[in-house]
């Protein structure tokens, strides 16, 4: 295959997109002549013609080629001959035969649902689609889910409930600078998607107002006109408190409410149960600031609310997003230009990854797997009997929690995910993974999860393959192959085809991405996420195409809902939800909130970014951010290792004393395995609708360690296999701030 040569690039350059977050920045890759062994074979150059980032890139994107170098990645399959034995190199045939035999054994002994699949929001649309098809058609299992469940599933559920459709942003990012007032809830784009900051800066330059809601005074919050700093787990009450004040101050858009919504009376009644003094008591945000925020938002000509993981990763995430949507609906901020609610999706293909069937309850085109017409349509495309398709399976955490149990999966295929680091209650999840009869991990590096596997399959990465992703705007974009993968590395599409053949399915699993996309178009046709009119050629020519795009003549849909919402009656639905406590609130034994999140120079479980030297230098390890008053009471000095203890485990990392955080809350980034793994602590309390775990708040206490370097002692639930990658008690963890 030869590298594509898009318009505007030199013959040697390939126009493509970043492998990391949902912004999917455009970039060019230029081959490095005579790259030395261990060095990246391509370098990143700007792609100013791509409108989302106009050439801007963050440190993660610029350094992404480092992972293409040999030495940091896997270049041959690995197999483990006996439990507890070492992983050894193997050929592809041996590895795939081993997987097929293991799957057959488990299926014969325990049934089809005993083979599980765990995907990822970083996979391309083609891979996500094919993984879902593989699970339903080849494995015949209901049990496929993915790490996107841990990402934006609450926002997705709330979106569907309110608008009848889930697309992260119902408008292009370019609309943001033109709104009057923007509330960013639990989002820190300054660290998570730096090139997007431009839009928020332009908003303020245009005279708009930026309000940031975050328990921490992040670098994003520092740029806001108003920063509201609620207790973790109280965003729902905060939204209702603002709705209350909007009603009290006569700022409801009665005309819009009457013409385009249903359920306002119930929403108003619920808001009345959240009067200012009560909301202040619940959230810790002073009444005066609630008033200020409600006034700024309610009086603006247009307004937007954007949420990210902050309010979503809770056992009430769906309701919380619903309450923020209610605030938008009451003020007429939906379904018209420069206004509306949106979710800042996290993973690279967080949007597309949830549309095409790697979710336990969904089929391609964002169809419900329980819907008869949807089953019939997809079964026809796949050439199978609709009744043969499995029904909805278990959600991500429930799937992991059930591993190795009598009614759970005995074999698991993992692609594009690292649950040993990223799942909640991670020590428990790690223990469940060890109970499997067969664990297969397809990844580009030997992640912490791959280390536990019986078979590890080395796969291609972004610059080595074609494929589409769908960015946070709902814009379908195209990644292009810029170079050949190393010998011994294969793509997921190829290996799914090989496995299908070994399991008796000879057709329907091509290795070519465009061929898979053509089938995806047909499978999605008529669904919510309708890609039928999108082609590789159009994407390249138009800088991406916004779905829904039902036919080749359709221009795509940058702005949704301008005429009507996607509900049966065309009206948006108020959620009318009531605040409730978190799954676990602080008490005498565990008196503090723990909240988790990201740092600028790392990405997700760190499986990729921790292998990039310049990123590791900037953000070398985990830390525990705590307020000076709390540090004083505990007698903890800046940089001193401390233990954070919850009912589920213990994590050790150096203290970072900072007045940027509430005194009742500590913060840990979640990118690291080992002793400093934040997810050893987190609570798997699930949202009843989205099945999202409660990553963003749990109850902890902080203990002094006393002796520097003590890794936390025995019985701490930390995965000892991770020892080699155990995060160093990082000195100067501040470094990542300089990397921006």
């Amino acid at each position: 295959m030869t590298p594509a040569t898009p318009a505007g690039g030199t013959a040697a350059e390939t126009a493509t997109h970043c492998p990391y977050c949902a912004l999917q920045c455009g970039m060019r890759l230029r081959p490095v002549e005579a790259a030395s062994a261990g060095a990246a074979p391509v370098e990143v150059t700007e792609r100013p013609d791509f409108p989302v980032n106009r050439g801007a890139l963050c440190g993660k994107g610029r350094s992404a080629p480092a992972l293409l170098a040999r030495g940091v990645r896997l270049t041959e399959p690995l197999v483990r001959d006996r439990p507890g034995g070492p992983l050894r190199a193997a050929g592809w045939d041996e590895a795939l035969d081993r997987v097929a035999a293991g799957v057959r054994t488990v299926r014969e002994r325990y049934g089809a649902d005993a083979v599980g699949v765990f995907g990822g929001g970083g996979l391309t649309n083609e891979k996500a689609y094919q993984l879902g098809k593989f699970a339903r058609v080849v494995l015949g299992t209901a049990n496929i889910d993915y790490n996107g469940r841990f990402c934006m599933s609450s926002a997705a559920a709330a979106h569907r409930r309110a608008f009848g459709l889930d697309r992260g942003l119902p408008f292009p990012l370019a609309d943001v600078p033109h709104t009057g007032c923007l509330i960013l809830v639990g989002a820190n784009p300054a660290d998570t998607m730096p090139p997007a900051l431009r839009y928020f800066r332009e908003l303020r330059e245009n005279g708009g107002t930026l309000i940031v809601v975050d328990p921490r005074r992040t670098r994003t919050a520092e740029q806001a006109d108003l920063h509201l700093q609620p207790r973790p787990g109280t965003d729902l009450a905060l939204a209702l408190g603002l709705l209350h004040l909007v009603i009290a101050d006569g700022l409801v858009d009665e005309e819009f409410v009457a013409a385009r919504t249903t359920g306002y009376d119930r929403a108003r009644a619920v808001a009345m149960a959240h009067w200012p003094d009560r909301v202040e008591r619940i959230t810790g945000v002073p009444v005066s600031r609630l008033r200020e925020a409600a006034g700024l938002f309610g009086r603006a000509a247009t307004g937007m609310v954007l949420t990210a993981r902050g309010p979503e990763q809770h056992s009430k995430g769906t309701d919380t997003v619903g309450a923020w949507i209610d605030l938008c609906l009451a003020t007429g901020n939906a379904g018209r230009p420069y206004a509306g609610y949106g979710c800042l999706t996290g993973q690279g293909n967080g949007q597309g990854g949830r549309e095409h069937g790697q979710k336990a309850d969904q089929l391609p085109g964002y169809r419900s797997i329980e819907d008869q017409a949807a089953r019939a349509h997809v079964a026809a495309v796949w050439g199978v009997d609709p009744d043969a398709l499995p029904r909805a399976g278990r959600s991500a955490y429930e799937l992991l929690d059930g591993l190795g149990r009598p009614d759970g999966a005995r074999a698991l295929l993992v692609a594009g995910s690292n649950p040993v680091v990223s799942a909640p209650n991670a020590a428990h999840v790690t223990a469940r993974l060890r109970e499997l009869d067969l664990l297969v991990v397809a990844d580009l590096v030997l992640s912490e999860t791959a280390r536990l596997a019986d078979v590890v399959l080395p796969v291609t990465q972004w610059a080595e393959e074609d494929g589409t992703t769908t960015n946070l705007e709902g814009r379908v974009i195209l990644r292009r192959r810029a170079l050949d993968p190393p010998e011994g590395v294969r793509g997921e599409l190829w290996l799914l085809g090989e496995l299908a053949r070994r399991l008796g399915v000879d057709r329907g699993f091509p290795a070519d991405a465009e061929q898979v996309f053509e089938e995806l178009r047909r499978a999605s046709a008529g669904g919510d996420a309708d890609y039928a009119g999108i082609s590789y050629r159009r994407i390249a020519a138009e800088h991406g195409v916004f779905w829904p795009c039902p036919d080749p003549a359709h221009p795509g849909t940058p702005r949704l809902f301008l005429e009507r919402f996607a509900t049966p009656d065309g009206r948006a639905r108020f959620a009318a939800v009531t605040h409730r406590p978190a799954g676990e609130e602080p008490d005498r034994e565990y008196p503090l909130h723990l909240t988790t999140g990201r740092v600028l120079a790392q990405y997700q479980s760190g499986a990729q970014t921790r292998r990039v030297a310049e990123l590791n230098a900037a953000a070398p390890g985990p830390f525990v951010e705590l307020h000076p008053r709390l540090a004083e009471r505990l007698g903890v000095a800046d940089g001193e290792p401390v233990a954070v203890v919850s009912r589920r485990g213990r994590a050790v990392a150096p203290a970072r004393v900072s007045a940027a955080i509430r005194a009742d809350t500590v913060f840990m980034p979640f990118h690291w395995p080992g002793a400093g793994r934040a997810n050893s602590l987190t609570n798997p309390a699930l949202d009843p609708v989205s099945r999202m775990p409660e990553f963003k708040t749990c109850a902890v206490r902080v203990e002094r360690i006393g002796i520097a370097g003590d890794g936390g002692g025995a019985g701490d639930g930390v995965d000892r296999l991770d020892g080699a990658e155990r995060a160093e008690p990082a000195r100067g963890a501040d470094g990542e701030r300089a990397a921006g």
Binding site: H227, M272, A273, P276, D277, G284, P286, R633
Partner: protein
Amino acid sequence: MGGAGADRRIAVVGGGMAGARFAERYTALGGPGTVTVHAAEARAPYNRVLLADVLTGRYDAEAIALPLGTSRLRTGCAVVAVDPAARTLGLADGTVEPWDELVLATGANPVLPPIRDLRRAGGGGLTEGVHTLRSLDDCARLAEQAGTARRAVVIGGGVLGVSAARALAALGVRTGIVHRAAHLIDRQLDEEAGAVLRERLAALGVETHCRNRARALATAAERAAGVHLANGHLLDCDLVVLACGARPRTALARAAGLPVATGVLVDDRLAAGAPHVHAIGDCAEHRGTVHGLAAPAWDQADVLALRLSGADPGARYTGSRPTSRLSTGGLEYAAFGAVDETLDEGLDVLRLADATRGSYKKLVLRGDRLVGAILLGDLAGLDVLADAWERDDPLTGHPLHLLTAAAPGPAPA
């Protein structure tokens, strides 16, 4: 009889804040059966906390309705009898309704102070021009008369009295407060804070008469025309508002033979003295305390909903530590706990008064525990202090830092 199944009948007596909250929570938690709220008033339950703002016209009367989830609501439905043995209740129209679980949320009545001529001759209710402020009907009557009134006297200088006076002043009515104690809101504030509040009220057009008692109503043409004080003064007025506290409504419980002291006695399960009978809110007395405030009433409703719905049958109510709060511009304060350090030798006190900003802060401490606080004018640090007090946690850092703390996360634009 319905037990825990879909035919279970839960009767709530009272459509006030506690009853409404219980009904909403029970159904939201997926509790089995049907909840029926029997409300004596002719309208759906509403948020009583907002009445002073309804008076000023900030909220429409209809806009403050509270959610009831999927409960059934019977308005204008006065319950006249409860039979715990037969598990029935009797309605004013003579019908008898069976129940499986009974929730008494009958609330409280305003206390009528011993003032001569307060009532009409012949027992026809309050004299024309005299008002209480506990219901939307009260509010509507008062608002109508305030439209033409020139002067008002509020009797009682607690939180409700101060709020009512502030609202009347906002409507352009010159208002005086008559208060028996030495300073305003004396149950929550100390003398210094009371004095600051008095000045602020004066700036809003409200004069305060502390250490004074209303002795008799002056009338003209059978309407209130003034209030005679015990010290001999006469305050002319067109309106009188009574804000002298409330007394639990316990007649139903008493008649049913349930144990009653000041309120209907309940244990930590919120169980009253008969099987399947519970009491919450202003009518309930728990561990010797009748709170008479919305926050504890909702704490109780939440616990009872957890218990009866089956979501957490073991839930217990162990008491509330409510905060007294006014958040109206010009009168901002928060206070809680014991604020009189002279009552106990083991107490320390920290005070910060800023005359130029008109702010006053006081912390009362025992060791590293906060036992009470007043924040007036400048409320920075309130959430940390209120948390520490509510949970009886040791304070984080030196308490002096909390007194001087900036508000959390301010954003200089």
